[in-house]
């Protein structure tokens, strides 16, 4: 087991390095960040530019810049933002909590609800309930996430005026003057969007796998030996049907750190996803690189954790 984990961790190094090199070269190809800072400020003199270049280490050749960046990242230092020179670590640290709050709540709700619905839908295939569940979840995967957010804002914030349309707290009126209730009110709409989308994907996965498992011989044998239907479904069938969902959860866990950029953008949520979109708009490379690397490493680790969880769920799988 330990040997397997160590080997997998070693495998991650070339992938993470590859992604960092591709990202860095892309950033470099995008042009000189100093020129972008200068946009609209034509009066900056050469001395200031040189000073700025030296400050951000941009006067050195590409490979030296990359190596400097890499050594800094290995010491968990992601550099300074090009706008205002705030350390990237500080920025990410401030925003990651809001993203995590939103994502953890949504993933938990979606995961818990999706299992019984998916199982029920598979057991009653082609029944009226199943048709409703499958069409609603197909709608969920066909819908642009951000558009669902827009529609909810138009209905619940603009027309009915029940819920706040943006931000994580505060705003025009604080809900009943209670800060906790206010935070919950701000969470409702973005969580609804995220839960619906995840729920749709999860239900489709669980239903499809459950259908296949329920056709298999061992379920037939279990039925023949008179085991209660409840035990057959939740103890024997679900165990085999759930593994793709775990994979999906693993991918979500990795992406969780990035936040859902679309949802965060629409609800003006002060999280990493929103921040990433802003940084990309302004070509603020240190922030973009920092967030990219964090997502990459988290996704790789999440994949490893998923593979280890598999062993406990499915005893047929052996780690090699």
């Amino acid at each position: 087991m330990l040997k397997y984990v160590v080997r997998r961790l070693l495998y991650m190094i070339p992938v993470a390095l590859g992604i960092s090199i591709i990202s860095f070269i892309t950033m470099y190809a995008a042009g000189d960040p100093i020129n972008i800072i200068r946009l609209g400020r034509p009066t900056v003199d050469q001395a200031t530019i040189d000073a700025l270049k030296e400050y951000y280490g941009l006067d050195k050749p590409l490979h030296i810049q990359y190596l400097t960046w890499l050594t800094n990242v290995l010491q968990l230092n992601f550099g300074k933002s090009l706008y205002g020179g705030i350390p990237v670590n500080l920025i990410i640290g401030n925003w990651i909590w809001e993203t995590a709050k939103l994502q953890i709540i949504s993933i938990l709700i979606a995961f818990i609800i999706s299992i019984p619905i998916g199982v029920h839908s598979a057991r009653k295939q082609y029944s009226a309930q199943d048709v409703v569940v499958t069409s609603v979840s197909l709608f969920g995967v066909s819908m642009p996430t951000f558009w669902l957010g827009l529609i909810l804002i138009i209905i619940f914030s603009y027309t009915l005026g029940w819920l706040p349309s943006e931000g994580a707290r505060g705003g025009i009126k604080i809900w009943w003057g209670n800060p906790v209730l206010d935070e919950i009110a701000h969470l409702i709409l973005p969580t609804t969007v995220l839960v619906y989308v995840m729920l749709a994907q999860n239900i489709r996965l669980i239903r499809a796998n459950m259908l296949e498992v329920l056709r298999s011989d061992y379920i037939f044998a279990a039925r023949a030996s008179g085991i209660s239907e409840r035990k057959i479904i939740y103890k024997y069938a679900l165990r085999n049907a759930i593994s793709p969902t775990i994979t999906f959860l693993g991918i979500s866990l990795g992406g969780m750190i990035a936040g859902a950029p679309m949802t965060e953008y629409v609800f003006n949520w002060p999280g990493l996803g929103r921040r990433y979109v802003d940084a990309t708009m302004r070509l603020d490379f240190p922030i973009v690189m920092g967030i990219t690397m964090i997502i990459t490493v988290m996704t790789l680790i999440a994949n490893l954790i998923v593979d280890i969880i598999y062993v406990y769920i499915d005893p047929r799988i052996r780690l090699r």
Partner: protein, 320 residues
């Protein structure tokens, strides 16, 4: 003449495989959801090709598109004259949506074509040859899988659309004008989308490579190219068709998201672009957010339904 004679055994083979497709078609016809998807897709394709003939106003770069603006009809809610209302910049939303259809189809089809081409080449080589070739190709695929794709698409689109000079490129020989910015977005979407499909094709190759008929063909002295193109690929074709339909749906969704975030091609009014243009006036012109979003939803829903229906019809494991 000699060519005709040579073709006879193949002709027989073709007739047999046609009947296989006929079986699939018969199964597909029984699936109401799949047929509904096919009807939606046919309607969308019809709208994409012939839409400009019955749209009330011409497409965007044409000054005629701004006729409502010159009449003073800006932000007119849905009425008899403008069934879907007019936008914040004074265009007829119904016309915008009709013209946007062809852009969405363009993105969907081109992304899918490139994605599948890369996926088939990488997947076939990795799956057929195995060994170190497989190892290297799969590591590269992994890099593209782990990449935080939506976020990275934004970086690339931002970088490349900055450098675009002309709004339209003319394709040599055919003389069709294609939107430059949108084409760049499309190419970038394709580059970040092939990895999971390549994995799927590799898996299928690994499965079929071990089957007896391939072994028999090898014993008969068939070349590798013959085995790949005449025996393994035709067996994977059903999966490729299903995945293609789903990839078109996915590409349309991602393009809408990219355009909505303001990274799209400002010269082409895609559905996502219309949503973006009216986003800041959402409080008043809700109709400009609702209807283009519905167009995306219906189109993607159609392709997803079609994909699910095809998968049921072509998947031999579930054949009863």
């Amino acid at each position: 003449m000699s060519l005709e004679q040579k073709k006879t055994p193949e002709g027989q083979h073709k007739r047999r495989s046609a009947s296989q497709w006929a079986v699939a078609w018969r199964r597909f016809k029984r699936n109401k959801a799949g047929v509904a998807g096919l009807i939606i897709v046919i309607f969308i394709v019809f709208l994409g090709i012939f839409g400009s003939f019955f749209a009330p106003y011409p497409a965007r770069p044409d000054p005629g598109a701004y006729e409502p603006f010159y009449r003073g009809d800006v932000r007119v809610p849905p009425c008899e004259k403008y069934p879907f209302g007019t936008s914040a910049i004074g265009t007829d939303i119904l016309s915008d949506i009709i013209h946007g259809t062809k852009y969405s189809l363009y993105v969907g089809v081109v992304v899918t074509a490139i994605t599948m081409l890369i996926a088939i080449v990488v997947g076939s080589i990795a799956g057929f040859y195995g060994g170190w070739v497989d190892n290297v190709l799969m590591r590269i695929t992994e890099i593209f899988l782990v990449f935080p794709s939506l976020l990275f698409i934004l970086v690339f689109v931002r970088i490349f659309t900055i450098t675009v000079g002309e709004p339209f490129w003319t394709v040599p020989l055919i003389g069709i004008k294609i939107p430059a910015g949108l084409t760049i977005v499309t190419l970038i979407l394709a580059i970040f989308n092939w990895a999971s499909n390549a994995r799927m094709i590799r898996g299928e190759f690994l499965r079929i490579r071990e089957l007896e008929f391939v072994e028999a063909e090898k014993a008969l002295g068939a070349s590798n190219t013959r085995i790949i193109f005449r025996h393994i690929l035709p067996n994977i074709l059903p999966s490729i068709i299903v995945v293609s339909s789903l990839t078109i749906a996915y590409a349309i969704l991602v393009e809408a998201a990219v355009s909505f975030l303001g990274f799209g091609d400002p010269n082409t009014a895609t559905w996502g672009q219309i949503l973006q243009e009216n986003y800041s006036d959402m409080r008043t012109v809700w109709w400009a957010e609702v209807f283009p979003g519905l167009a995306i939803l219906i189109t993607v829903f159609g392709f997803n339904l079609l994909g699910d229906g095809l998968s049921d019809a072509l998947n031999p494991r579930l054949r009863d």
